[in-house]
Symmetry: C2
Subunit: 445 residues, 2 copies
């Protein structure tokens, strides 16, 4: 399948380059009834969650799993065999063993759920081996890595899908549906962000991280020591980018970022470990709240918050505002001029959720029950798998992966330069002007 | 009184320069039982509101009123005489006649409620004539005007108070009280702004403004045609500045601004006047939503929204966030770690409002009933009048007026330069390091 896919995607890329919209109608190739064969790189908490969702489907075979920890691959193997599938091949021989997984002839795509620094190299290796790359967020850490992803996808013809699950959150998709139908009028301004108290994830157990840490504390905390910027923008920027048609008629042009001082993590170490704990001496580079403003080619602005070190209620801080009104995530509120019952008064989003519920959610609601993060994890994996099945581009593609992930290094650079504006590259090479979105157009994937 | 005041304020300025905190205890001079004598420059809607509040007090005599419209001064004169006071002198002889009002010997202070362009010249003239200047927001339109205000106040020893009423909003003052008591921990980040659909104020009647307009449409709309930036930041920036001790231990250091495209006003003209209305041809410079980020000397960030051209519920968009938790204006919500009943869940601000209600509000609640904007207009005028009575500096001073008002031109410059950071001047000449706040410290003013 590898060679077919590669050829197919050269053709596909050419079709895209010619302005042909590839709808998921299967017109390019007939639907393939063969099961989609996946490999999983990284089967920690996140990878295991993806694995379980894949195993719950009838159209997936899990051929291989990879991790650097035997406990992780053991658990993954058990999950696969318990699901009645054949024992998958295991890649456990150090950090580079994933390269042997991606070159297997019997897989169509890989799911990458590893620490951030591995995302881009693994996705690139997968594409070079002729596989669909499904990669967790952010897809890259540097601008150069973003370009490498794009160039690799273009050269190999293989898709790279950033697995941004929030694009499929039920309310977000209803709002997306409303945006496409023009209910908000012309979009003007969006808020979004990652406002999530991660202190007990960055330190686990107690005040520990790194070698003494558990879970994401093993690797994630180090980023807060060395880096200052929006380290995790895509949960907000991704969904908003789809609403704003970024890379398909619009693009991110420039950003500026500012960071507050850093207090939350140090205070947490003191509270958990006391003043004499060795981690109490650490200076954290990451400002507790990092705010980023983006200007878009079509004149809209986007505001992104990164707020992970302080106590607060969880919120992705969505606001979608157009010439007719606006929706706010916090307190599920909406106001539409001439539609909302009282002038200038919020109303509950509830009835709009029903009215504009996305066809995908209507169709797959029961399938998504129990899936992670309120069901949305089902949909992001569904989109990846259905794209492979249809041999079409993924609805969230390498240009999205690059445009959303590059916000991380550019935000760091802007913070370091006192809020100076940073140019956001046009990864599409000018094709954003006429490219068409194929994200969630109907109830298929 | 003019000469006494001027001498007194030279003395006062010297005391301030020496680091002496001037509390409103009357220790510098004994309390003066003579009534405070005011002149009113501009008696349109806003000035009349101030006038009515002044007339409701027993400690004020209104000696003079000034406007360019006879209907306005006629109405003001009637209000004064109806209140049982002597007929005030009237200054109605064109745009410069206010200069004759400010030089009267029988007034202690002036209230300036005129179109924006007149604020700084009038306040400067008042101070030069030895009068307390109370000036509506913003106090100035250019950086040079801000400096002129500061230099004039320093040279004359006369105070200039920007009449920022939202500093006295009841919930804002309760939050300010909490901030001073350390309930939020160390402050990290604030949101604020002016989110107010002004379309039917910028156009009145119908699609008219300027010579054919009424009310603020006569002069305010023109600013939306020519200028692009945060034209009206002080309702948010003022209260937040007081919480962050701006000019008294902290300062605004730099800002960046971005603006969306402009759609709302043009659409409104079309809706009100049709495509053939002459105003349908106007190109509006003002982006519908302008977002500004500020970095403070002590490491906090402030986000300011300006959103006046689109349909939306009114909101000043307050958020005050510290190391212990945060308050949000929208939906009166608060979360405090270890205090709020459920971890990471919003609770209603209601009980905090009771617990931390500011002493000023407790004392003057009944006096403020019926005063504009939910009562807060009472307090801002009260502070101005009580400062004059005590012959002390106003609790919101010329450095505040300058630091808050300069955000307007700097925001315009940043927008014009693609979001480039703009240095915010230190109008205190370095004294912010040790200056102490005397804003709303107790229940006096």
């Amino acid at each position: 399948m590898k060679k077919v896919n590669r050829r197919e995607f050269i053709k596909t890329s050419a079709a895209v380059a010619a302005g042909v919209s590839l709808l998921p109608s299967g017109i390019i190739l007939g639907r393939d009834d063969r099961k989609v064969r996946l490999g999983f790189i990284g089967v920690g908490l996140r990878g295991t969650s993806h694995l379980e969702l894949a195993l719950a489907r009838k159209d997936v075979e899990v051929k291989a799993v990879c991790d650097i920890r035997k406990a992780a691959t053991d658990n993954a193997v058990k999950l696969v065999t318990d699901a009645g599938q054949k024992k998958p091949a295991v890649y456990l021989n150090g950090e580079e063993d994933y390269r042997n997984l991606v070159t297997r002839e019997d897989i169509d795509g890989v799911i990458i759920s590893t620490p951030w620094v591995w995302h881009a190299p693994m996705a690139i290796a997968a594409m070079k081996a002729g596989k669909y790359a499904g990669v967790e967020v952010p897809a890259a850490l540097t601008e150069e890595e973003c370009w490498d992803l794009v160039h690799t996808s273009e050269e190999t013809g293989m898709p790279c899908m950033i697995l941004e699950n929030v694009c499929y959150r039920r309310d977000v998709m209803a709002v997306y549906n409303m945006v496409r139908q023009g209910i908000f009028g012309e979009l003007m301004h969006c808020h979004c962000g990652y406002q999530h108290d991660l202190r007990n994830i960055k330190f686990q157990p107690g005040a520990e991280f790194g070698e003494k840490g558990q879970g994401e504390a093993v690797w994630r905390t180090e980023h807060s020591i060395k880096r200052n910027g929006d380290l995790y923008p895509t949960h907000g920027a991704g969904p908003v980018a789809k609403m704003l048609d970024i890379n398909t008629g619009n693009r991110f042009v420039t950003l500026t970022s500012m960071a507050t001082k850093s207090r939350g993590l140090h205070n947490y170490v003191l509270a958990q470990g006391g003043e004499d704990h060795p981690n109490a001496k650490i200076k954290f580079a990451l400002g507790d709240i990092v705010t980023t403003m983006i200007k878009c080619a079509n004149g809209e602005t986007v505001l992104i918050s990164h707020d992970t070190n302080l106590p607060r209620p969880y919120s992705l801080n969505f606001r979608v505002q157009g010439t007719n009104g606006l929706w706010m995530d916090d307190f599920d509120s909406i106001y539409l001029e001439g539609v909302s019952p009282e002038p200038h008064r919020w109303e509950s989003f509830e009835k709009y959720q029903e009215q504009y519920d996305h066809p995908l959610w209507k169709k797959y609601e029961s399938d998504s029950e129990g899936a992670g993060h309120g069901g949305m994890d089902f949909f992001v994996l569904h989109a990846f798998i259905e794209s492979i099945k249809r041999k079409v581009p993924t609805p969230i593609d390498v240009y999205d992966a690059a445009a959303w992930s590059v916000l991380v290094p550019l935000s760091e650079q802007s913070v370091a330069q006192g809020g100076a504006p940073m140019a956001i590259p046009d990864f599409t090479g000018g094709r954003w002007v006429w490219r068409k979105s194929d994200f969630a157009l109907d109830d298929q994937y």
